[in-house]
């Protein structure tokens, strides 16, 4: 309980005891804590004040006139009456005043105090492994066995290599665009590992590792990046805008944070269908400035939706550092503002991310409530292939995070310390994956593009007459000007 309230009640208690006043009478204290002169019970004041006299008090709480208009008395309860309210701890048997408003009971204070803009200390960050991959405490909450650990590690390496090779492919002009998750491999893979396949994932765009974990193949990734005819998205979107209904991974869309309120709607569906599953909505630090973030978290709390909000706070939104994004203590403190349980976790610690998301998932489903997980990390790569981040941040900062704070190396050390991994396996894995990614790119490149008809379909469930007309006109134009039509797009 707040110190000030305790002190106020303690003083009231002492004063009442020392003056022999019955404990049930209300005491109003002035600012020094001294009781004000006794006033007759408020109910005895008649209209016009004929029945009694209110002695003039230096700090009048109620006047007859105010009583008439506000009927405040019925909202003014003593702590004894509020006893059945769990939130009021009644360890002292006095009665500091508590007022009833539509939002619930609040205690009075006569001390004007503003809540500071920030707490004295930042919310601490949960971690299981230290920077050298050693478990800090002999805490078995991680529950990661060999099979799981090796799958997590190999997927982190696969993600790393896939990102690097695809990035290069863009630089070579083979795909138009790419976006890496370098530095965030632990968030991607470990959070995905903590979810089940039934959990619905609503990503932003830097969560390809989650899709990888669920079984999306390197070939399927490549197909989307090349926009070929076997791309599940039918070649319509820019690269990295993956989506897979068989993996419960909603299609990426470029606008920021739009998935957040959608996640709440999806979670409400799971709740009403009584599914033992939750929604995991991912987003970055920049997303939290969007209105949709506010909308989503507020709705989630009110709807008691089983959704985990996973924020990848990687320090940058393209070139905008978090200091220019918000002034709160990161994202974790915002949770409480919405009435959402939250945790801050070391996003570069795979075990911490895994156990935090596991726990969050259990609470979300069992207690049907939203949870906010802020994973602190660093965006090692550029925002995308359209960005050169050395223009706005120092090279040595990038190098530091890439080498000394690398989540993949850190987890590797832990896995190796359990003798579940070694150098030989490492070399083999990296070679294999690299070959596979290159092969996937080669294969994706040879596929045709989707047919022309795919341009017009799926705008609606069926083709409306105006789009049918457009398609006919386009085909006529192509017939008239065949030389202007691209060779690799089947008509």
């Amino acid at each position: 309980m707040a110190t000030w309230l305790r002190r106020t009640r303690a003083v009231a208690h002492y004063l009442r005891r020392s003056s022999g006043r019955p404990s049930s009478s209300r005491v109003v204290l002035d600012r020094q804590g001294a009781p004000l002169p006794a006033v007759p019970p408020l109910g005895s004041v008649g209209i016009g004040g004929a029945a009694g006299r209110i002695s003039p008090a230096p700090f009048p709480v109620f006047s007859a006139k105010r009583l008439e208009s506000t009927r405040a008395e019925k909202h003014l309860v003593s702590v004894h009456e509020a006893e059945d309210d769990d939130t009021v701890e009644d360890d002292d048997d006095d009665d500091a005043q508590v007022l009833d408003f539509p939002g619930g009971k609040v205690a009075f204070t006569s001390r004007m105090q503003f809540i500071a803009e920030s707490a004295e200390e930042r919310v601490p960050c949960y971690r299981v492994l230290d920077d050298y991959g050693q478990q800090i405490e002999n805490d078995c909450s991680a529950q990661v066995n060999e099979e799981l650990a090796v799958k997590m590690y190999t997927d982190m390496v696969t993600l790393q290599i896939m990102d690097a090779v695809f990035f290069e492919a863009q630089r070579q002009g083979r795909i138009s665009f790419y976006l890496t998750s370098m530095g965030e491999e632990a968030i991607n893979i470990a959070s995905a590992a903590a979810l089940t396949d039934d959990d619905v994932v609503m990503p932003q765009y830097r969560e390809q590792g989650v899709l990888l974990w669920r079984g999306f193949t390197l070939q399927e990734f490549a197909n989307q990046c090349f926009g070929n005819k076997v791309d599940y998205g039918k070649g319509r979107q820019m690269p990295i805008h993956y989506g897979s209904n068989k993996h419960n991974y909603f299609t990426v869309s470029s606008p920021i944070a739009t998935q957040i309120p959608q996640a709440v709607g999806a979670a409400h569906s799971l709740k009403m269908d009584k599914r033992s599953a939750c929604v995991a909505a991912y987003f970055g630090d920049g997303s939290t400035s969007e209105g949709d973030f506010h909308a989503g978290l507020n709705f989630a709390a009110v709807m008691e939706a089983p959704v985990i909000f996973i924020c990848r706070n990687n320090g940058w939104a393209i070139s905008t550092h978090t200091r220019e994004q918000f002034r709160s203590d990161g994202i974790v403190v915002r949770g409480q503002a919405y009435g959402i349980r939250s945790i801050r976790v070391d996003g570069n610690d795979a075990l911490a991310v895994y156990s935090a998301v596991r726990e969050a998932r259990e609470m979300a489903i069992k207690d049907q409530m939203p949870i906010l997980v802020e994973a602190l990390t660093y965006r090692v790569g550029h925002h995308s292939t359209s960005d050169d981040s050395t223009k706005y941040r120092p090279m040595d900062e990038i190098e530091y995070w890439k080498m000394s704070r690398n989540p993949v190396n850190r987890f590797r050390k832990w896995v190796e310390s359990n003798t579940w991994w070694d150098d030989k396996k490492e070399v083999e894995l990296r070679n294999n994956i690299r070959k596979q990614v290159l092969q996937a790119i080669q294969t994706a490149e040879t596929y045709e593009k989707p047919p022309l008809s795919d341009l017009f379909r799926d705008v609606y469930d069926t083709l409306p007459s105006n789009l049918h007309e457009q398609e006919s006109q386009l085909r006529e134009t192509i017939k008239r000007h065949p030389k202007d039509y691209p060779l690799d797009v089947p008509v």
Binding site: V200, M202, D231, Y232, G233, K234, R236, Q237, H241, G243, S244, N245, F250, T251, S253, P255, T258, I260, P261, Q262, A263, V264, G265, A266, A267, H268, S269, L270, K271, M272, D273, V279, G291, D292, H294, A295, G296, N298, F299, V302, M303, R457, D458, V459, Y460, D461, P464, S465, N466, L467
Partner: protein, 301 residues
């Protein structure tokens, strides 16, 4: 003055019920399978009651359908959602926080999971915060995913249009903004019986739809509305008055005004053909084209 004009049209509307009955009973006949005009006694309902009825039927016929928005729980500021929460429970009919982008975003997510989500925006004037969700998300949800996902179950309802005293922010007709967004449909009913059938179609149509309800007609328009579950086809315009000299195309509340204009024009010897577009996007070009071929003139209001 606006008030007296409304009163004038109101009285005329009441007296023009016979005319309405012609088109609506044709619709009702269509709904009952094209049989001859039946003289069954259908109760007279106003527009908001017709919409209320449609919502009751929608929720009754699909257990995975939801109605939500600001103040819908107690019945809504226009009483369109009366009785729904009591009948179907708080999990399916509920108030949302005051946030249009949240309402539509939430609706998209709900619809994307295969549910029918009927979201209410309290006034069309307040739909703009949701414009991003509607244009960038709902409209493109199916296309951008290669048809792996869709939010076709989403219907967004909003009262639109002037009533005389609404001012800047309770009177807007923003339908045109949405008419340039492929992927959504825009539907506007002109009368109670049309509203019920069209709304049920919208709710069951597998595409996200914005349904604007002419609030001016909520209480003013009264006609017989068939009690059963019926739908009216989308993207089909209706010639509600035949003529030879000029084609007038309109939708929603203005049609009642246009009908008066047609009567006035008749006195001047001009024969007007009046078309209710009903669905503004995708619109029925064939019907309008056929009419203009006949009359040679087109006036869009």
């Amino acid at each position: 003055m606006a008030t007296s004009a409304a009163q004038r049209f109101g009285r005329r509307l009441a007296s023009s019920v016979p005319r309405r009955r012609f088109s609506s009973s044709a619709a009702a006949a269509a709904a009952t399978g094209g049989s001859a005009v039946q003289r069954t006694q259908n109760p007279s309902l106003n527009l908001c009651s017709a919409i209320n009825q449609a919502l009751h039927i929608a929720l009754d016929t699909d257990p995975r359908s939801y109605v939500f928005g600001e103040d819908v729980s107690f019945g809504g500021v226009f009483r369109c959602t009366v009785g729904l929460a009591d009948r179907f429970g708080k999990g399916r009919v509920f108030n949302t926080p005051l946030c249009e982008q949240g309402i539509v975003g939430f609706g998209i997510g709900l619809a994307a999971m295969g549910n029918r989500a009927v979201a209410e925006i309290q006034f069309a004037d307040y739909i703009f915060p949701a414009f991003d969700q509607i244009v960038n998300e709902a409209a493109k949800f199916r296309y951008r995913s290669g048809n792996q996902f869709n939010c076709g179950g989403l219907t967004i309802r909003a009262p639109y249009g002037a009533v005389g005293h609404g001012g800047h922010y309770h009177s807007q007709s923003p339908e045109a903004f949405f008419c340039h967004v492929p992927g959504i449909k825009v539907v506007i009913p002109r009368s109670p019986s049309q509203a019920k059938g069209l709304l049920l179609s919208c709710i069951r149509d597998p595409n996200p739809i914005v349904f604007f309800e002419p609030k001016w007609l909520y209480r003013l328009a009264v006609e017989e509305v068939p009690e059963h579950d019926y739908t009216l086809p989308l993207s089909e315009a209706e010639v509600i008055r035949e003529g030879t000299d000029i084609t007038l195309v309109g939708w929603g509340a203005q049609l009642s005004v246009m009908e008066e204009a047609c009567l006035d024009a008749e006195n001047d010897g001009i024969s007007c053909e009046l078309i209710d577009l009903k669905t503004l996007l995708p619109w029925d070009k064939e019907t309008v084209e056929a009419s203009v071929r006949k009359t040679g003139r087109l006036l869009l209001l």
